[in-house]
Amino acid sequence: MSTSKLLGRALFACFLLWAGDLLAQTEDAEAHQLLTVLAESSSTQKKAAVLQIAGSGDVRSRGWLESFANNKLGRIESSGQFIIVLENRGRNWTVESALTGENLGEISRRDIDTVRVNNALRNELEGILSVIDLKSPEEHSRLTAARALKGSVDGTLAERLPELMNDEKSDAVRAALTEALAIYKVEEQGDVAAVATLSGSLNSEARAALQQAMRSDDAALVAAATEAMASIEQKLTLNRAAETLYFGLSLGSVLVLAAIGLAITFGVMGVINMAHGELMMLGAYTTWGMQQLMPGQPGLALILSIPAGFLVAALAGVAIERTVIQHLKGRPLETLLATFGVSLILQQLVRTVISPLNRTVITPDWMSGSVMINEALSLTLNRLYVIGFALVVFAGLMLIMRKTRLGLEVRAVTQNRAMARSMGIKATKVDILTFALGSGVAGLAGVALSQITNVGPNLGQAYIIDSFMVVVFGGVGNLWGTLLAGMALGTINQLLEPWAGAVLAKILVLVFIILFIQKRPRGLFPQKGRAAEG
């Protein structure tokens, strides 16, 4: 609890800061003095310096503290002038004066001493800023601030919280504050009444408080705490189960995305496209490229990369179909070898043309973080989007295959090439389109993956085998099979992982597939009839 104690002192200071009429400008000399202390004192004394600045009541203090927290507060060696770093990439940094705020342009890194910060201090600063935010006009930041308080309330704050709650309009915030206060009471005062408020709370600090209470020697408290704990544990196990399921589905959706394009090229055309993974890679790189093209708006770039990624991969697909696959009609095993060669070439191409290093793909704000169902169960946003995306893509493909002319022709050609031809269907055209479609979908998968994993030359290899497993397991040439198989394998894997560990889980899934194929050589949903024989 050491941190919260320290934080306590910080908070105390902040309340002084509220009490006194704020926002007077201290003399620059004085300000300079304050910062010098901060800059020159050792990391242990820095805390004191921080409190001083917070206490100074200077308008600029908040700005200083923030930039300090972000490692952006520095000093020019030569002049000793304090600066705030605006841009700190490369060897020359753009800075502005900390006191006057005037822009000082670019200064070589060599002349800048940044004021060192570390996590301990950052905790302090967050505490301070959050308490200041308790007064902020927007409910959202008040709520986060209130949540942040849980487990770090101290005597001083505890006295002020009730009055704060009274003039608090939002119930959510008030609830959070009440819990924060209750935690404090249970922890520090062993208040039995407060235990009731905590019962059923999923907040980890609350749990910690209760556990501590259970260790106390006050029988009544122990009893109450134990009871409260029981109710919490129950809730937790439920949430755990829900979470695992969610993990399973999200992994499944990734598998489905990776495999569904293959289900088209492999399942419908009988082409074993080992370069499928690299087509995904292209999609991912497209996303990166788009983000490079429009710096500053990763979100838009990402959305635009959905069509772009599809297009790029599709075109690549057409190229592969024309140059390689069309020469290998009815020789599936040979397509495997040839396309494997293609995959090697594509990988090396990316390595030499772009870089062997992974590329940074930025996650837009609306995709990072998670939606909090409750304090024990929150669904990560990027995966949520991926699940949705997978389902949309699947639905789209279903439509194309079932409702459009292309879909009809594709099915015709796959059932009986000669017959379809004689009915005036251009088989070659259909082949190209089908393969382009499958490849394009792979591109889409790549766009999605860029938000989950590395964007690098090896992205493809990581998924190709899994994708084949999914398709084969689901039953070749059956989209529903692919969907079901992907989701099933994903969930099985996640169910196994807790007790088998990540590696063993994967192995077990593979073995399971191998055995399953023995039982049902044509997967979950096999194609029946004389066509499928032979």
Binding site: G270, L337, F340, I465, F468, I514
Partner: protein, 374 residues
Amino acid sequence: MWLTRPLQERSTRIFLGVLFAALAIVSVLHVFMPQDSALYVSAYTVTLLGKYLCYALLAVAVDLVWGYLGILSLGHGAFFALGGYAMGMYLMRQIGDRGVYGDPILPDFMVFLNWQELPWYWLGFDMAWFAFIMVLLAPGLLALVFGFLAFRSRVTGVYLSIITQALTFALMLAFFRNEMGFGGNNGLTDFKDILGFDLRTDATRLGLFIATGIALAIGYVICRGIVTSKLGRVSVACRDAEARTRFLGYRVERVQLFVFVVSAMLAGVAGALYVPQVGIINPSEFSPLFSIEIVVWVALGGRATLYGAVIGAILVNYGKTVFTGIMPDAWLFALGGLFVLVTVFLPKGIAGLLFKPGKSRDASNTPSAQEAAA
């Protein structure tokens, strides 16, 4: 007798002649040429050639199942690696107390992960004969079980290829795990000696090289014996018209199983000879990529010829040795391009270029001819 039959056919005699001549020349140049002479073959080259021969044997094994039985195995690397591990375990035990921790029983990696006693599956590997039997048995059994399941339920073609890939992939993940007790990613290494011969002496290297050459010869004759026997013709029948073969009363799945197991054992032997020469065995030998590469050697050399497989294996790996030196980037392009070109434009491979098309099964082994020779 099916094993001696190949010795009467021209192609085999030529092959063996070339092989043994090469062995002899290399040995002579290595032993009798002065170090500085241009003709001198260094120990480094000898080991390199030894490695190629291991790959060649592996390729022959793959050609046997793919070329003559039509089973495209993308998991033969697994059998190769298993043989290698069996040998590696023997070599590990041979180190004895000369490991860095001087532990008489436990290999080093077990000591610093403080394992207390040797896992049961390591027992017996201190005895050469046991290890050498395991070299055949481990891959053989895996092939037997896997093949039995697969062929019984008539998993063929693409499906088979993909589950063989799953098989080797699963094994790779398994061997990466340190709990398995096979040294995890580091695998087995720092071998000292084999059958009492110090692995660091050139004499031992030459010995291993020659042994590999002989193994290749024997392997080749066995495969040749099978494919020129009636069983070989039944295999081809299975490859081209499985159903028809069944209606003739042949148990296709048993034919497939037999040939598959033989091939797996040959791969195991190749692996076992590979390990002492390169000095390390680790899970990367299980990687699906490697298994696919093997198939490409065969495709390049020419399917269903056996000697084509040998040519392909040696050519590709020689190219690798050369190109990774001078142009590392270009190498992957070259390899990839090779895959595409061969499969698209050279379905018969180099053998198909060298000899008249349609002779992939040379007429010299029609029964009448053999009996005439016999």
